[in-house]
């Protein structure tokens, strides 16, 4: 039986996403990592400015992130050292997650979730901020009564990133 996408499911998914954004904005990367399933995939393809007839321009070869739980673990470990200069002092981020759409997933214990993301990033005393805009296509799986992130695909609205590095997660 497929999971229903009732108000209750919607509310659980919504709460999960709000909690996740809070963890990222509070720099609790280790806790954030715990939200992923062991077989998680975390992808952010390169986007190329193409003609309309050629589709949306997302590459299926080149990525900004092509991660598993194991490679995200390495990234989080690095942030936990005293030497991750790119995030110390840390960026001040705000993950604005909107337009939450929940549909049935491919597996019976999964849901397919689409959200819009606006990431505000401020660093140092620079009066200018960086903004990254994207749609996220998530697969959430219920494991032992808890929602977990099985897969995230971050679909950027940029063909050239307008931030100096990706030491933050989307």
């Amino acid at each position: 039986m497929m999971l229903d996408t009732s108000v209750e499911t919607y509310w659980e998914v919504y709460s999960f996403l709000m909690h996740e954004a809070e963890l990222l904005d509070e720099r609790r990367e280790r806790d954030w990592l715990e939200l992923f399933t062991d077989d998680a995939e975390y992808l952010m393809p390169v986007r190329v400015n193409r003609e309309r007839a050629e589709g949306d321009g997302f590459s299926d070869e080149a990525y900004y992130f092509e991660e598993t739980r194991g490679s995200l673990e390495l990234r989080v470990r690095r942030l936990e050292t005293e030497y991750a200069w790119a995030e110390d002092p840390p960026s001040r981020t705000r993950h604005f997650v909107t337009n939450v759409r929940v549909a049935e997933g491919e597996e019976e214990d999964e849901v397919a979730v689409r959200t819009n993301l606006l990431l505000y990033r401020s660093r140092g005393s620079d009066p200018k901020h960086d903004l990254l805009s994207a749609e996220r296509k998530d697969t959430l799986r219920k494991e032992d009564g808890q929602w977990k992130l099985r897969k995230r695909v971050i679909l950027l609205d940029h063909s050239v990133l307008t931030t100096h590095n990706l030491s933050v997660f989307l």
Partner: protein, 450 residues
């Protein structure tokens, strides 16, 4: 008058800056972020030298094209129906409209949206709407109004370069002695290299020269800048000083840095690539691999193309927790003083297994590119250097480029198998000083006017 005085002042400042880096090993910090010299960089460097635009494998099929730039000059790099490559100004000859507005694609023709002039991907003008009404019964001389090609275009081992300078020396000669070192990146397989998809692109408030000088030979920064990746087990080395021993090279206008590897491990390349590497490279190159167990790690081809060859862990556990090798080529594209766009490609041997290609690309992503755990921290440094150099007085400070000057001598001729000049240490500034000397030589060279 004000303009002339200003120009004279800049000239004098640059002359003193050149003397200082050459004789004292000190660099005027102003050059990290100074608007008055940016125009000179465009005119005397980027309009004079060869600049890398694209790899052949980005446009493998007839009709394929990509858009590329030399600073603000936009080019369409095309492959025509005969398989020949063209580099054409992305500008309609009629009213100067940007002809192609898609960054990549496949098309035999480019049609200007403004009045509809249509060109073949060779640059030939094919169609002019209402030609007779507009230009008389004889129409327009289509040969005269073809797209303008870049003054020069040449290909080096699959790398497509262009130059705005019609009198630039041949590319092979420009790369010169550096070719011997580039072979380690470009000729490991006789099948050649291919890009893994389109390049990452991102904008950094940092000066292009800081990245170029870092990549030409800065082995010294790794023990501090990249400490987090050593602690986290991404960079699988025994000591933070892993890059202390090695060889720094200057060759022509260019340079590179060698890194050691465990004898017989060849950066952990799979056996197939190791076999072809040992077969394709010449005897002297193979001697370095086999006897000395060293290989070029990073390199810069003047002015703004860099290479990095490394091996890093991809996963926290399992097979990919060991070092997986990769190659990246990048362009530090100036966007103005103190600002650049980075273009970063990952390349793999065409005849490697699909599994290796995928893992190699993941090793690159985990460490370099916008999200790379090493490049993130490089970005922090280069942006910070650029920011503080903008100060009126901090811009007058002289910075230390003297490492090695007092106690390191070049390897004597006959004891190093490669061309150029080799220095037997990596925590030295010879290649970086060479970069800045080359840079000042260009800025001060007014043979072709300003």
């Amino acid at each position: 008058m004000i303009g002339e005085t200003r120009e004279k002042e800049i000239y004098e400042v640059l002359q003193e800056a050149r003397r200082s880096i050459e004789e004292d090993g000190k660099l005027l910090s102003k050059v990290y972020n100074e608007s008055s010299i940016f125009d000179l960089e465009v005119k005397r460097i980027f309009s004079k030298t060869w600049v890398f635009l694209a790899h052949e494998s980005e446009i493998p099929w007839s009709g394929d094209y990509v858009l590329r730039r030399i600073v603000d000059d936009s080019f369409i790099v095309t492959r025509d129906e005969d398989g020949d490559i063209h580099v054409l100004f992305n500008m309609c000859r009629h009213r100067g409209m940007q002809l192609c507005r898609s960054d990549a694609g496949n098309s035999s023709h480019f049609r200007c949206p403004y009045h509809g002039y249509t060109y073949q991907n060779t640059g030939k003008l094919n169609g002019v709407p209402f030609q007779k009404e507009a230009y008389g019964p004889e129409g327009l001389d289509k040969d005269e109004w073809a797209m303008t090609p870049a003054p020069r275009m040449e290909i080096y081992e699959g790398m497509i370069f262009a130059s705005l300078n019609p009198d630039v020396q041949p590319l092979e000669e420009y790369i010169g002695d550096m070719g011997w070192y580039l072979d380690f990146y470009l000729k490991k397989s006789s099948a050649g290299l291919e890009v893994v998809g389109p390049p990452q692109r991102w904008i950094m408030p940092a000066d292009w020269k800081l990245a170029a000088e870092n990549f030409i030979g800065d082995g010294y920064h790794t023990q501090s800048t990249h400490m987090s990746t050593i602690k986290a087990g991404i960079m699988r080395v025994k000591s933070p000083a892993y890059l202390k021993e090695g060889v720094q090279i200057t060759a022509g206008k260019h340079g590179c840095l060698f890194m050691g590897f465990k004898p017989g491990s060849y950066f952990n390349y799979p056996q197939g690539i190791v076999d072809s590497m040992l077969e394709n490279l010449n005897e002297d190159q193979v001697e370095l691999l086999k006897e000395e167990s060293i290989m070029p790690l990073n390199a810069t081809v003047f002015p703004n193309t860099s290479f990095l060859h490394s091996a890093m862990a991809v996963e926290a556990e399992g097979e990919l927790a060991t070092s997986v090798p990769y190659l990246t080529i990048r362009v530090w594209q100036p966007m103005g003083p103190g600002k650049m766009e980075i273009w970063s490609w990952c390349l793999v041997e065409k005849d490697a297994t699909e599994e290796f290609k995928k893992n190699s690309n993941r090793a690159y992503l985990s460490t370099f590119g916008a999200s790379g755990t090493l490049e993130q921290d490089d970005a922090e440094n280069w942006s910070g250097q650029t920011r503080v150099a903008a100060g009126e007085m901090s811009g007058q400070h002289y910075l230390n480029y003297s490492a090695g000057a007092k106690h390191v001598e070049p390897i004597p001729e006959g004891e190093w198998p490669g061309p150029g000049t080799a220095y037997p240490k990596n925590y030295v500034d010879f290649a970086q000083r060479h970069f800045w000397q080359t840079y000042f030589d260009h800025l001060l060279d007014d043979r072709n006017g300003s």
